[in-house]
Each structure stands twice: as C-alpha cells, then as structure tokens.
C-alpha cells in the first residue's frame, strides 16, 4: 500500500478538531481553476480557508502545520443537483425521503428536514473528491420540494448546511406526472395541466405577497409556507430549478419564466441539443443530466455531445449526479464529467463543469469552486489525472478538514 495513503488515513482519524490547524498541501500539479495550472505548487490553509498558494519554490510556507502531498490537486468537486442524503443507498422505505406524494405542489418541503448526513453514500461520494452538493427532493413531482447546499462533512444537516433553501424543485414532463394521476385527481395528468397548476400557484404567491404589503396587518393572510417559497422563486432569492427533459418541456419552462419574469435554472435537459438557441436566448444556466444516465423513456434522446454544444453556444452549464431510483444509487460527477473529454469538451472545460461553473450557478462562487486565497479550503487530492478511471482519490479537504480518500471504499 502507498505509505501516503496510510498517512492520510491516520490523519483523518485525528481530524475532528483539525480545521483550525494549518495545512500545507503540496501538489505536483495544482489546478486552481482560477488561472493556469501550477507545477510543483503549494497551498497554505489555515482556519478552514485558503491563505495563499503558488509555486512551492516561491511561496512562503509555515514551518509548522501538517503537510499533505499529491500528484494532482483540484478544487473540491461540486454536484450541482443531487438527491444525496435524501435517497439512501439501500433503496428501502426507511431511507427514501426524496419524494412525498400527498400533494403535487409542495415548495414548503425543506431538504434540510430530510438530509441524512450519515448516509453512507455521502462518505462514498466524498471519498472520490466531492465536497459540496446541491441536494433535495427528487424530480418526480410537479413541485417536489426544495434543495439545500451542504458540505460533505457527514456530521449533521444543521452543521453541514451552507445554504438551507437554495432552489425550488419543479419537474415538467412525464417525470412530473404520476402514473396514477388520473385516478388520484390531485396531480397533473398532462403537460398543459402541469403548467396550468404552476401558473395558478405562482399567481397565488404574487397575491399572497401583495397582501403582506398592506399596512393593515389584520388584512394579512394566514402564513402559507408553500406560497412564501414560491414568492422567493418569483423574486429570485430561491429560484426555480426546473427539470425539463424533453425539448417541449424546456420550451414550457422558458414560457413560464417569461410570463412571470422568473430567473430559473434549467435542469436535466435531455433534449437541450434540440433547443440550444432558445436556451441561449433565455440566458438561463443548465444543470445537465449525468452523461452516462440511461437513455430510455423521457431521456431516450440524451446525447453525450450536448455538453460540448452548450459550451460552444456559450451557455453556462454544470454536470449533475442526478437522481437514480435504482442501481447505481448515485452517479459521481467526477466520472460523468470525465467522459465528456472524449466527447468534445477540453479537460479544463470538463473540470469547470463540476467546480467553478456549479459554484456560479449555485451563487456560491465567493466561497467555493476555485482554489484562491480567502475561499473555503475545499480540495480534492489524486495520485494522477482525476478523470482517468484507474487514478485514486487520496483524500479530500473540506473547510480545512482532511477526510480519507477512496481506499476504504473500493
């Protein structure tokens, strides 16, 4: 076994109070994603933040502090849309909290009330380099709930959250139409009905917000957390994450956004390659489906060249791990982005789609996504090219805290 791996494992055991400690991370190649890669680099970390970085020969390095070494160091990976922590690996009722079907529109459901930081797939994902996720309810109801952004410390939801109510999860198309819709009568049964129901609730949310502006407090309506969340969707503070796989649904999402002057994030977008100009004109970013997701049903027309087309059109995008109802219970954005390098993206573009770009889409680029002084000390360490299948992740650093790599998991 590589002695360095042993060292990392030992370090992790003692890491519970390490975040205040100084870390010196030496990288054969450092990809900051904020500038060109740096050979023989060093990153200095203190109090959970990146203090400085640069070529080892010319960067002041503290005498004390724990030293880590890796062939390649990159920013901690970000999964821009996941159900990690809500949809557990066992796929049994007790670990599946990603979908409640009592009503079709539930923007009042909060991911933080369901996020299980101790779910084994959280640690598994971290062991391959993921440090931050935008996770929440599954794209399987018209409004299934909301997302939160969490760091993968695997402590508790309340300790690990960095943004408790990031987006509202909206699903258009067949995934938002339950198979028993016609018998339950509560859920949409068609695409037009889906949009009609969304319009109705967005109007309600507008009226609800307007009533709260009345000076006469006796005329304020009773609190309604669903409508309040939609109000944040309208004002953009908690935007709608609209999962739209078919081109028809992407156009539906854009229509809804125009009608209500919404700033939305397009999600999934299996047929984005059929609506590139419309997406580009909207200015909205895309959180693209996992590259290797199964091509069937609603997603039968996915293309592994879509990412390259979004890139060529100048459409901002990130790659997601997504939601899987069966094995593999989670897809890892490291692999989903890596295969894009052989399908039209450059290496840097592929890495940006799981670091810098998702940080921007999540509105967190002041903290995560690149390795720069002042940012959170979130790094992923590899013994070679991170995208190569046979490379190992040696460890991850989150907020200056070291966690073991994949060797315990493979």
């Amino acid at each position: 076994m590589n002695p360095f791996i042993c060292f990392l494992a030992l370090a992790a055991l003692a890491s519970s109070t390490l975040s205040a400690q100084t870390l010196v991370v030496r990288a054969g190649m450092l990809h900051t994603m904020a500038g060109p890669p740096i050979e023989d680099a060093v990153v200095i970390i203190a109090n959970g933040k990146i203090v400085r970085l640069g070529p080892a020969a010319s960067t002041a390095t503290p005498r004390t502090g724990r030293v880590l070494e890796a062939a390649v160091v990159i920013p901690g990976l970000i999964d821009a849309h996941s159900v990690l922590g809500l949809s557990g690996q066992l796929n049994q009722p007790h670990d599946q909290d990603q979908l409640d079907r009592s009503a079709p529109l539930q923007a009042d459901l909060r991911a933080i009330d369901a996020y299980n930081a101790k779910e084994p797939l959280v640690e598994f994902s971290r062991s391959l380099g993921i440090t931050t996720i935008n996770t929440g309810h599954a794209p399987r109801a018209l409004i299934s709930g909301t997302t939160m952004v969490a760091k993968l410390h695997a402590r508790t939801a309340d300790q690990d959250v960095i943004h408790p109510q990031r987006m509202i999860t909206v699903t258009l198309g067949q995934f938002g139409i339950p198979s028993d819709a016609s018998s339950t009568g509560k859920s949409p049964g068609t695409r037009p009905k889906s949009l009609a129901m969304l319009r109705a609730d967005l109007v309600k949310a507008q009226e609800y917000a307007a009533k709260f502006l009345l000076e006469d407090k006796t005329k304020h309506p009773a609190r309604n957390f669903h409508l309040e969340a939609l109000g944040r969707g309208i004002d953009g503070s908690q935007p709608l994450l609209v999962t739209a796989q078919r081109a028809i649904d992407i156009l539906g999402a854009l229509r809804l956004a125009r009608e209500f002057d919404l700033s939305i994030i397009l999600d999934g977008c299996a047929e984005a390659h059929l609506a590139l100009d419309e997406i580009k004109a909207s200015g909205f970013p895309v959180i693209l489906h996992p590259t290797m997701v199964r091509a069937a049903g609603e997603m039968e027309n996915i293309s592994m060249t879509t990412a390259a087309k979004l890139q060529a059109h100048g459409i901002p995008f990130a790659i997601q791990g997504g939601y899987e109802s069966y094995a593999p219970k989670t897809r890892n954005v490291l692999f989903e982005a890596g295969v894009l390098v052989a399908r039209g993206l450059t290496w840097d573009q592929a890495l940006a789609s799981i670091t810098k770009s998702p940080a921007q889409i999540l509105g967190l680029s002041d903290r995560i996504g690149t390795i720069e002084p002042g940012k959170d000390a979130d790094l992923a360490l590899y013994n070679g090219d991170p995208f190569e299948y046979t490379t190992h992740c040696l460890g991850t650093v989150i907020d200056g805290q070291l966690y073991p790599g994949e060797d315990d998991h493979i």
Binding site: E271, L274, N301, T305, A327, P328, A342, Y389
Partner: protein, 462 residues
C-alpha cells in the same frame, strides 16, 4: 456464417446508413464498405498496437483476416500478407478482441423471459422476445460488444433459456444465434435467488423466503431427474414413456451438463446456496453479479465456479448490493477464480463496458486480468473460447479498433468488426448517433429488408 447467406441485407444494414454506399466520407468508410462487400479477399490491418489477450501485446502489429476468420497476427514484418489482401493502415490505433458481455438485456428488455404465472419456467426462451432491431443492439455494437449472453430477468427462480448471440448487423435474431456443433443454439438457463424472485406477497405461487426458494429449485431438479430416468427406462415403450415436458427437458440438459446455469446472486449467503445446490445436483453454473463475492472468494474458488461481475458506480440501489465494491474482481482474481464482467444492460449501458474493467483495476485487479475478463474469460463462461475471446489464427475475426488504451477514460471505440464485417464505424454519422446519443438514438432501427433502402420506401410500400 449467416451473414454471407444474405449479402444484400449486409449492405442495407440500416436505412440511415445509406451514405455508406455513396462516395466515401472517409477512408474508414471505404474500409467498412470493403469489408462488407469483399469478404472473399483477405484484409491486413497494419500498424496498430495489438492486444491479442492470448499472448503479450504487440506494439506495432499486423492482423490478417479472411472469410470472417483471423488468419495471422504478429509484429510488423513478421507476418506474410497474402498478395491479394487489402491493406488498411491503422497506425496509432489499438486493436483488441471484440468484447464479450456475459450478462445483457439488450434487444427490448423487459419484453422477454418468464412471466409472473409461476416461479420456475425453464421452457421460456429469450429468443422469442428479442427485438434484434432495438437500438440497444446498435449501442452495444458501438460499445465494442461482439457477443452477448442475452438473458431474461431475475424475477423468477428459473426465468428461461438465454441466448449467446453474435451482434451481427442483420436485424434478425435468427441470424444472430451461434450454432453449436450438435446443431443447438448456444445458450444457458437463467436462474436467480435472493429478493428479486421472493415475491409471495404479490404472487402466491412464488417463494416467500430464501429457504423456500431453494426448496422449490430442489423439487424442480428432482422432478427433472425422475423424468430423465423414466424416459431412459421406457425408451422403447411409447405407452409408459412420460409425455414430453419442454421445461423438464431443459432442466435435464442442465443436469447432463449440456446447458450451463447463469445464476443471478448477490449476497454472500445466496452465493453459498448456489454452490450448495451445485454440489447436490452437479450442474455447471456461473455466478452472475456476485456483489458480495469478495466475502466468500475462497469458497467460490474451491467450488471451481466462474463469476461474471457487474461493476457499478456506487454501492446499493437495492438491499442486496449494499456491500458491492470495486475490489471484488481483485479479490476473486487473487483467489484464482475465473472472472468475467458484464453490463447487465440496461443497468449499465453497453457503451461503457470497457469502463467495468478500468474500475476493477482501480479496485486492485491486474490490468491483464481485467482485459481477459472482458474477452477470453467471458468466452470461457459462455463455453465459446474455441472461437471467440482472443485474437488467434483460426478464431472468428471479432475485433475492435480503439483510439487509445482500452482502460483510459479518453479512449473511443472507433470500429467494431464481427466475423470480418464492420458493424460499427464512428466516422459514419448513422453509427455515431448510437455511440454518442441524440434524437432518434433510442428508436428501433428501421426495417431492414433488402429491397427497401429507406424507411420512406418501406412506409410507402406497406
């Protein structure tokens, strides 16, 4: 070789492929067309790195094929090229055997195999449910798969007869079968244990527990043994001879070692149950999936049983795959078990079959062992290693041309050849659609009849 029986169809393999017959889009297309038209003259592929799997890699090699078979291979300069051979320069590429997938559901899954009327249905035949024009077949070709064990599902204890199919570009399952020397179609029988077939709460005839599952299987094999004995005893007496039972006949083939059990099993205790039943009844069995194989590697090795492994991106997805790990291939390899990989397509898309080997290497398996597990070991698992699974003179000319190392994330499969015929060429836009996806990439391939060159023709005439 069925393909040569119907050369017209060979050329019209896909209406969208019409461009193939036009003046060339690229040199590779000419090659594809040549190999489709001119199977009577030899072809020499020159300059590629050749990974024969049988023997060491050849840095700059020659592969000579003729009439669908491998004629010769070796380093440049060491092989005599027939005077009438077409020369194809593949310098910079890598050539390895066509991939053999020992567990797949391409061809229209879940439309085939046993139904829910009873747990044991050896009489069902997967060939009766396969749509050879399903897009999954072309995707598998683009993933470098040349032979696949197409199986029914795991929702029954015995879910039917599987088919070892060559993914020839013929559009008809009849022309994809592999005929054994005794005239039978090559194939196994699919069995399963564990939770998938335990469904008494919804289907009364099905088992409600693991022990009941094993008990029902024992009953079935005992019945098959009695049927076999009665047939032998009363071979000359039509009145006493038992009525034909196509299901029991299949199990008799299993008991006689003429048909191998391909056994779905995940948990270590379920694996041991399969080995126990094997000891009791003496059938040939291959363990399929084997998620917890790393826990019982020594027992598997002692039983002399081969394993066909699924390689997933993460553990779980179902209770029995909780302890799935990338190390399984390495642990079984070290224990001396014959290891193959499979896609279980649609669980893993056939286009990413090479990745299974790479992730197993990540988990500690040897590079050579992982490449064998994609090719010759799976050929052994399907008992077809005398004709496929490695590049050796006399074997079928099933091979793939790669842009680089087969275990690299950056490598693309550029061409797939089956019996010398090019069934996938990434420079052909119609083929590339299936390799990369896009609008129509999941639609069944359009009608394939030799007299109708386009879908429009077909629609107008029918």
């Amino acid at each position: 070789m069925a393909a040569t029986d119907n050369p017209c169809c060979q050329n019209d393999r896909n209406p969208q492929d019409y461009s193939m017959l036009k003046p060339s889009l690229s040199a590779a297309l000419i090659i594809a067309a040549l190999s489709a038209f001119a199977q009577t003259s030899p072809v020499a592929y020159l300059g590629a790195k050749i990974i024969p799997v049988h023997g060491d890699p050849i840095e700059q090699g020659i592969l000579v094929i003729d009439a669908g078979k491998i004629v010769a291979l070796g380093p440049l300069g060491s092989v005599t090229i027939p005077a009438n051979a077409t020369h194809v320069d593949v310098t910079g590429k890598t050539i390895m055997p066509g991939l053999v997938d020992s567990h797949s559901h391409i061809g229209g899954w879940p439309g085939f195999g046993a139904d829910d009327s009873s747990p044991i249905q050896p009489e069902t035949r997967v060939i009766d449910g396969i749509d050879a024009r399903d897009a999954t077949v072309q995707r598998a070709q683009s993933g470098g798969i040349t032979t696949a064990n197409i199986m029914p599902g795991s929702g029954n204890l015995v879910s039917g007869q599987t088919l070892y199919a060559k993914l020839r570009d013929v559009g008809s399952i009849e022309d994809m079968v592999i005929t054994l020397p005794d005239g039978r179609m090559a194939g196994g029988v699919k069995m399963a244990n564990g939770t998938n077939s335990i469904k008494q709460t919804t289907h009364a005839k099905f088992p409600g527990s693991r022990a009941k599952s094993a008990a029902l299987v024992r009953e079935a094999f005992v019945a098959a043994g009695e049927y076999r004995d009665k047939l032998a005893l009363h071979a000359d007496d039509p009145e006493k001879r038992p009525a034909r039972d196509l299901g029991l006949e299949t199990l008799v083939e299993v008991l006689a070692g003429r048909r191998t059990v391909q056994h779905h099993t995940h948990r270590h205790d379920d694996i041991l149950t399969v080995l126990r039943l094997k000891r009791e009844f003496g059938f040939n069995v291959v363990l399929q999936h084997v998620s917890e194989g790393w826990k019982v590697a020594d027992q598997i090795a002692a039983a002399g049983v081969a394993c066909s492994l699924i390689v997933l991106d993460s553990p779980g997805g179902k209770l029995e795959a909780r302890d799935f790990a990338w190390r399984t291939g390495a642990v079984l390899e070290k224990a001396g078990v014959l290891v193959g990989f499979h896609t279980d397509d649609y669980i893993v898309d056939s286009r990413f079959f090479l990745r299974a080997a790479a992730l197993a290497v990540r988990g500690g398996m040897s590079r050579e062992g992982a490449l064998r597990a994609l090719t010759i070991n799976n050929a052994k698992i399907l008992e077809l290693d005398d004709r496929i699974g490695s590049l050796e003179p006399g074997k079928d000319a099933d091979f793939i041309v790669l842009s680089g190392d087969p275990l690299s994330a950056y490598t693309r499969i550029e061409q797939t050849y089956i019996e010398g015929q090019c069934v996938f060429d990434i420079t052909d836009p119609a083929d590339q659609l299936f390799a990369d996806g896009g609008f129509g990439a999941s639609a069944p391939t359009a009608p394939y009849l030799c007299c109708y060159s386009t879908q429009i023709d077909f629609a107008q005439n029918h």
